[in-house]
Every structure is written in C-alpha cells, then in structure tokens.
Point group: C2
Chain length 146, copies 2
DNA sequence: GTCAGTGCAAACCCTTTGCAGAAAG
DNA sequence: CTTTCTGCAAAGGGTTTGCACTGAC
C-alpha cells in the first residue's frame, strides 16, 4: 500500500511519488518524478538551484526552466511550501504540515521548529474581509559571540 | 527639545531627523535627510522603489543607487527594519520596535500587529552556539471568498 | 494526431558595484 | 585638501517567459 506522504520521514517509493502527484492533480513525467523524489527523500529546505543540481547530478534530467516551473507548480498545488526567508532566493520546504523555522542568518541554514514548541498565544482579529492563509514564524539566529 | 524618534507617531521635525542620524552614527547629507524624512513621516512599509519615487516626486534629489545604499545603511544601523515577506522585493519598516505583520498576499499590503496582540507562548531551546537575533511573525491573509 | 510538458536562450526585475565627479568640513 | 557621498551605467543573480520541439496517450 502506498501510504507514504510528504509527511512521512521515510523516503517514499516510486509508486508513492506517482500517487502523490496524482492526488494533487499533477500529471507525472520523468522530470517531475525525479524532482519529487529529491524533494521528498526527507524533510528538507532546498533552493531551486540546489534542486537543479541534485536532479542533474547523475545525468541530464531536467533544465533550469523545468525545475523552476515544477517547483512553482508543486507549491501552487500544495505539495511543498515556499519559504520567504532571505531576500536573495526562495526556499522550498518538502514538509507542508504546520511548523516554523529557525533561520541561521550567517549560514543561510534552515531548521524546523515543531508547531507545538512555538505556540501563538492569541491571534488578533483579522482585518475585515480577509481570511487566514497561514502564519509564518521565523526565528532568526546568529552565531553566538562568546 | 528634539525628542521625537522613529517610535513616535508624529512626523519628526528636520532637527529631529538630524539628531536621529547623528545618534546612529550616520553623517547627514541632503539625500539622507530627505530619505529619512519620507521614511519617518509616519510608521509605514515602503519598498526601495516607493522610496525612490517619493524622494524625487518634487525634483531630482537622489539617484536609485543612493536610495538603495541609504536604505541598506539605515537598516544596518538600526534606524529601520528590513522586512522579508515577498520573494520579489524587500520592504523597509520605519518602525523598529517589536511588532509583527499582517501580509495581504493579494494586494502586497502590510499592516502592523502590536507585539502584545500576538504573543509567542514558549520559545524552544535555541540550537547550540546560536543566539536570538529576532522573531519575525507574518500572518498571511487573503481576501475572503464570500 | 493532439496537447501538455520540456528546453534553450533571452528577457526581466530588483539590487549591487565600479568608478569618476561632487560635496562637505 | 582630503575624505566621504553621490550618480550613472553596467553588471549581477535569481526567476520567468516565448517559442519551437518532444513525447505521451
């Protein structure tokens, strides 16, 4: 049974990937499969450039345009999450469940914070006519100056 | 007495601006003064482009390079705060006191949330060797689909 | 055969930089 | 005078796009 999802911490099988794409209404192609395999190998935060590099690390699988287009598609379809943390590039998070992030400003490294470890006490009333999309919490860290 | 600061909600006078720059170790020039006047006229969130436009709305005061350089300088010196909210551009917040933001994803509009209206219940232990720089909370909103 | 997906290169846009000239003290 | 700041234009870097080609049903 193909019950792995992007929430699992075990690498999904090829058929899990196929199912995952299908469930989100995404046609599967060689390139999309490979990109999904890389993303969902484990919970991680990758830039488009890093994905491109890994996709083609063992042969030419996908072009830059396809990687960008595919990451955008996956994000729109809810398979992955765009993280806006750094003004110079976007990161893609292969975990979409509610959680937050440490961001090491010196290294550019991202690290998960479990949702239950960082709870918002009381959300203020939302402005008229708007509804909540999501709450992003970024805890910015720097190397400790001893 | 020039007691207005960027925390005030009353537009600071010219001499307040001069003092503010001096207190942050920034030499004052015609361009920097004008940019500061625009930023601190009221608490607001402006992109570099918006600042550029306003600076030159009544005559050529500063070039694009100067506006970018000055905003970067002000942010490094702590007069203003860089907001990373949108992958396409940086916003500068003329309020540096602790507070958070609503972000209307449809319109790109930013709105303040008072720090006391959105409290983090318990911060998880920070990773070894790191110290807190700051916590950014962005409440992303979309137009309500009625 | 049809239509969606892909690849390439060029375009884009925000931002940064190099360097010569201007301004401030 | 000397040093810092400014302006211009060009370069930079991540991302998007136009369009012809490919490939899957």
């Amino acid at each position: 049974m193909a019950e792995n999802t992007q929430h699992s911490h075990r690498p999904p099988s090829v058929s899990d990937i196929t199912d995952m794409l299908a469930q989100h209404g995404i046609a599967h192609t060689q390139q999309r499969n490979k990109i999904a395999q890389i993303l969902f190998a484990r919970p991680q935060h990758l830039s488009a450039d890093q994905v491109l590099e890994r996709v083609n690390s063992e042969g030419n699988i996908a072009s830059k345009a396809t990687v960008y287009n595919t990451l955008g598609l996956f994000a729109r379809k809810g398979l992955i999450r765009e993280l806006i943390v750094d003004s110079s590039k976007v990161f893609y998070d292969s975990s979409t469940h509610a959680h937050h992030h440490f961001y090491h400003v010196d290294t550019g490294e991202l690290q998960d914070i479990n949702a239950q470890d960082l709870v918002v006490q009381h959300l203020p009333d939302l402005p008229e006519g708007s509804e909540l999309e999501r709450i992003d919490i970024i805890v910015r860290l720097r190397a400790k100056a001893e």
